[in-house]
Amino acid sequence: MTEVIDAGSMRGVPPPSDVLLDVRNMRTTFKVMDGVVPAVDGISFSLKRGKTIGIVGESGSGKSVTALTIMRLLDIPPAQIDAASEVWFDGREILGLPIDQMRRIRGNDMAMIFQEPLTSLNPVFTVGDQIAEQVRTHKKVSKKAAWDRAIESLGLVGIPSPERRVTAYPHEMSGGMRQRVMIAMALSCEPKLLIADEPTTALDVTIQAQILELLKSIQQRTGSALMLITHDLGVVAEMVDDVVVMYAGEVVEHGSVEEVLVEPRDPYTMGLLESIPSVEKRGGRLSAIKGVVPSPFNLPPACRFEPRCPYAWELCRRVAPALNQVGTGGRHARCHLHTPDGATRLRPALDTHRVALSAGRLMSTDQG
């Protein structure tokens, strides 16, 4: 995992060349009727070329807004990106780019797949038209060549008889097929970064597996980097190298996928893992993180997770924790447990978590 860059000291300096995407101190706010909402409140992470990263969080955690900010697809009047935020892509800072240059990157070097395949395709144009359009926008090729590329892309995503399907309209296809078309469209110009925002949430479980398989194989084949946004920990486990966990607009934990999912170090992540229902936990109460996600207008004054945290103490209500280093690798967690003040509480907390996770297993042995 890349070192977390102390965003403040590296302003204006491009990251090393093997880092494709470097998000520094991203802060995006929305002006709404009742005030200003900080949807993304100072997050930083980076992604190396050809690697995969998963952004995990509940609805409202700010993960989609992160992606939209990177792609600069937000409407700027209601949305506002803080001047101190920087996003470096392929050696260039893109938040400050003039919009027409950004358009040359979008769909070309950086592509995005959205959550709702049923409404994300234009209903009045054929599938082939929409793919070819993207190709023609970014590459100077003839109509025929673009059309062929469309057929080719459809084939790459596993659509049978692509040369026939290419003249179909979106409403003539199922949800899974449409999502494949979206992926085909995103890949048509061979992007260096593919952002997938909850690509399977709206699909049936069996189709989900297929689409994820597809994404994985494509990513491996083309060598593009993949940023996968999801709320589903299971998906993340299968697909990515590194994980960033978001809560209420902040990064609360990141590390490699093995580290974060097997040995989480932030109470929120722990809670998430504990609440996964599993076959082994039969008969017990479903455990959930108590409380609800805070309203953005009424964020807790210090640690945002404190009201729901089983390990919180009065320090957590006074001082907001920083993203503290955990151990010696590139792991970080936003929790006081990893500071000297929390040192004595760390072990017991981890023990509690371990017990909660394995409670089901004890149970099943009891049942016999």
Binding site: M71, F114, S120, N122, P123, V124, Q134, T137
Partner: protein, 363 residues
Amino acid sequence: MAKYVARRLLQAIPVIIGISIVIYAILLSAPGGPLAKFANNPKVTNEQRAKFMAAWGLDQPIPVQYCRWMGFCDPNQPGVALLTKSGVPNFLPSGIGGGDNGMAHLSLGFSIDTGEDVGLLIGRAALPTLILAGTALIIWILLAVLLGVVAAVKRYSFFDQAATVFSYIGLAMPTFWLGIMLIILFGATLKWLPVSGMIDSRLSPPFGTGEYWAYFGKAPLTAMVDLLRHLILPVCTLVAVSIAGDSRFVRASMLEALGQDYVRTARAKGLSNRTVVFRHALRNALLPVVTNIALEIPFLFSGALVTESIFSWPGIGRLTLRTIQSFDYSVLMGILMIIAVLVVLANLLADVLYAVVDPRIKY
């Protein structure tokens, strides 16, 4: 699709027949009628009135009159006479011995006021109305779409707010009031534009006559300019209110399209703003607009009614008003039936157009 159209046309027939019955019944069942023009004239004797009624068949019961109007009853015989004198059913073509009256033979009868063939009468009034309504339709569509799209794209800008004010006021304004104000402003005060008729009688013969076309052939440019000058105010009056309403509709439709997911996808593809707005969003936004406009075409005719009256435009509108005042049943029935058919066709057109532009619709 062809089957759908055929089916709709067949379904329309009973509706149209139903409408004709209703209209006919209402027209004839109230007191008064074509005799009203003799009401205050003491020189017309009762005998003459009776002869008049008999000559026009107005003394027959209403169902009989209707039957004759439809062409199933022979008007030359009293009562319900389904067979002609030669024993052939009346609705068959006259060549075979059937009658020559009524809808079955495509005849609308004769005007009680002037005796002219109703079809010819209406036909003569049709061209001016077509010119007026046709020009109005084109301008209406172009301006409504243009205004609506620009207002949506430049949302909240000064243009948008001005357009919104304009639409609000336009929707609140009776069309004829606008016409009157325009006449006062451009006709009486500024004297820039003519305010009545289709042509300047000092320059050219009355419109539509043989002499007029001869004149047109000799001096086409002058004639066209004259015609256009006379068209301006009536067309403005006719379309102002419609544009006001429709531009808001276009704006709303456009805004809705711009908020759709596929627009976000289009932007994510890196397409230029112009492509996103005019190719992706507009195409979808126009779907409901197209049907809306098709459905509003019949309203052009009621608008023409008033406009033709204010500007003395010799079209169907003015004809209608005249015949309503004198209760000239034949002409009135003819006009109303034509309008009813047009309304039905306009509805059908709206549905067909919808299927044509939206690939999701299949009949």
